[in-house]
Symmetry: C2
Subunit: 412 residues, 2 copies
């Protein structure tokens, strides 16, 4: 892609309301732009990363037997009355009336809709289990939107719902999705801790959260330094220094960004919304549900928080908007054809961003630092002898490489 | 994909409110399910078709130098006050207040947001042209939602906005996108007519619509039977029998489904919203805009209307959710391994739906007729000698084929 066409409005200064590093960098590198408080436009570079995260999520869900669908954002009040949540939710639920004065809300979650979608169909154990997910824009009117994509009012999520005939089957899905989430975050370049948590407004009896440890996290995590134990402090009641019952370790405290949460819903929605099936013995039973959320825009934010310096991003390869940044010091009538030819050749095997802008070299280098693609290829004075300067952004190493061997150095 | 996992809730009877063939079939084949009037869930089969249409759109936009981004659905009132449209729109604009009583609308279109996104950046002719598009859910509170996805209240669109320094550059983009749209619809298996139309609430001075001729269309199209002339009757004032000024032909009348519309906006939004740039002569000018909409959910609907019989769908290969429907008459302990092995082999080279459900053969065949994948492979009594029954859904031709040569018969 040519940078002149891509729309990458880099900024010298971060917006005044940007408090944390990731928010500042995402605005400065031209990944996002605020449209209203807590409401953002994903600019082309940011959108490409979102799409990479979505691809990883789809792969890890589809291979585990989940199917993708897409539910509406507008949800009618009657479904939320069935579950009893219309009255339970406060002003964080965005409500509106249509032209005939009927009540709707903008979905922050889709337990009601998915239950209504499947309940006529899953009348027999033969139709179970089912695992359905979507990737969709969600809405929550946060009291204090802040930290860019971390606490937004319109955000992108993946939400999966499972329908089982038994507790055992739900437990199996829950375990499968725990593993799927760990894999997804690892592929995104993020290490996560799984912490026990409260079920909150979603309901159910068991819930876990996936936390990326970060000083800008909003949750306080207590964890043992010698075993797997970890919990959201609000839920566990444990604090630093408490003995951990399972081992000899010491409880530590850190901040975490919540990037995923999974719930054993049980029969809360199937009972209230009449999603019953006939089991193997001919008895009518409420179907047993699980739900599994993953914050996509927040994962982008957490990845930027972890993979950056104050000067710019250092994209993990699985998420990077492009693998290679091709930066000619100066494009002239003499070298333009050769540069375009190199760009076209490289584009056959990997994703390449060509800085074809009519800008000074200093501006291009500064923007390249900010954008932080894994490989930078500077086309300078040695290009006449076929040499370019290759920098590996992760190691910081720079070397002169002949264009003929360049592709062998670019490892996706 | 295994059909037992996919969630394909086929129906014997179409919903009572389904008036037209495509709506009936999409509900019966388990492609969509209504959540509220004019608001639908795209079930896994329907969602896969939507994704195929999106892929075609992305390819045809990206190769023409357009960049993808994603704008929010929630749009603040102040932007619509700048353009003057907050007061112009009626109840079809869905409005709501946030918890602090600030006004928002749910975007039916994004001229205001995109202009606000780019205006700080395009201060010089050097930053132009720009062509930015998104694929997104849009909202319009139709008075009478009907015909399924044809006139819905929440729908999926692609919208592109171009920013030019001159009328000539806008004219070039307009022509480029006319060709892109024709290509996109052709790849989707749809023949379209381009008709002149009114600019309506979007504004500007020139507009064209892309129409799929269909008896269930809501627009009346007048066209010449001997030249390229075609227009939306509402706009042209022409009716059947009028002489066409450009040629000797006769004006014909037909109904059309509008699947795309393109507008030369000119400077309506750049003037009102202060999107000015410095031109090559150093003068400040309002940027010249174009906008280009394509209804994705409506394209799905139009494709179903054109590619179906009353009994079921006949998917064009570019859109089909799967290429092959693998239908075992009966799966038993004896043949299960061989069937799964065939399924796994085929899945390496094309998309396959395996009907692994515990259902009678008659039910499976009826569902397969309804779903209408391009190739049906029936695994019956001849499977013991390695033979399966292959039906080409387009030609209706059926023949016995050995599993070893089967892949050579399946043309994507």
């Amino acid at each position: 892609m040519k940078q002149s066409q891509l729309f990458v409005p880099t900024l010298k200064e971060a917006p005044k309301d940007a408090e944390v590093k990731s928010h500042k960098l995402m605005a400065r590198a031209g990944l996002i732009k605020q449209t209203a408080a807590g409401i953002y436009t994903y600019l082309p570079l940011g959108h490409r990363v979102i799409r990479n995260i979505e691809t990883i999520i789809r792969e890890e869900h589809d291979r585990r037997g989940c199917s993708e669908l897409l539910m509406p954002a507008l949800q009618p009040r009657d479904l939320w009355e069935e579950s009893g949540r219309w009255g339970q939710y406060g002003p964080e639920l965005m409500r509106l009336k249509d032209r005939k004065e009927r009540d709707f809300c903008l979905g922050p979650t889709h337990e009601e809709v998915i239950t209504a979608v499947v309940r006529d169909y899953i009348q027999s154990y033969k139709k179970l289990p089912l695992a359905l997910y979507q990737i969709q824009t969600k809405f929550r009117d946060e009291m204090r939107p802040r930290f860019g994509l971390m606490r937004g009012r319109e955000f992108i999520m993946k939400d999966l719902y499972t329908f089982s005939e038994s507790r055992g089957d739900l437990d199996q899905w829950y375990q499968t999705m725990k593993e799927a989430y760990t894999t997804i975050f690892k592929r995104c370049g993020l290490e996560t801790k799984i912490v026990s948590s409260d079920t909150g407004q979603i309901g159910g009896d068991t819930a876990d959260e996936f936390m990326v440890m970060s000083e800008v996290g909003e949750d306080t995590i207590t964890y043992c330094d010698q075993c797997d134990y970890a919990a959201n402090q609000e839920f566990s009641g444990l604090s630093a220094g408490n003995a951990c019952p399972m081992c000899e370790g010491t409880i530590q405290v850190a901040k975490g960004i919540e990037v995923g949460n999974i719930f054993k819903l049980g029969t809360k929605y199937s009972e209230s919304m009449n999603a019953y099936f006939t089991d193997r013995d001919g008895n009518r039973q409420p179907v047993i549900m699980g739900c599994y959320g993953l914050g996509i825009s927040r994962t982008l934010m957490a990845a930027v928080e972890q993979h950056s310096t104050d000067e710019g991003l250092v994209w993990p390869k699985a998420l990077t908007p492009f693998l290679v940044h091709l930066v000619p010091v100066k494009m002239t009538a003499d070298n333009e054809d050769a540069i375009l030819s190199l760009y076209n050749t490289l584009s056959k095997t990997c994703t390449v961003l060509l800085d074809d802008r009519d800008e000074r070299a200093g501006v291009k280098f500064k923007d390249a630092d900010l954008i932080g693609l894994p490989y930078r290829v500077v086309i300078g004075k040695d290009f006449v002898t076929g040499q370019v300067e290759l920098t590996d952004r992760t190691t910081g190493e720079t070397k002169l490489v002949h264009v003929d061997t360049l592709p062998t150095h670019l490892i996706p």
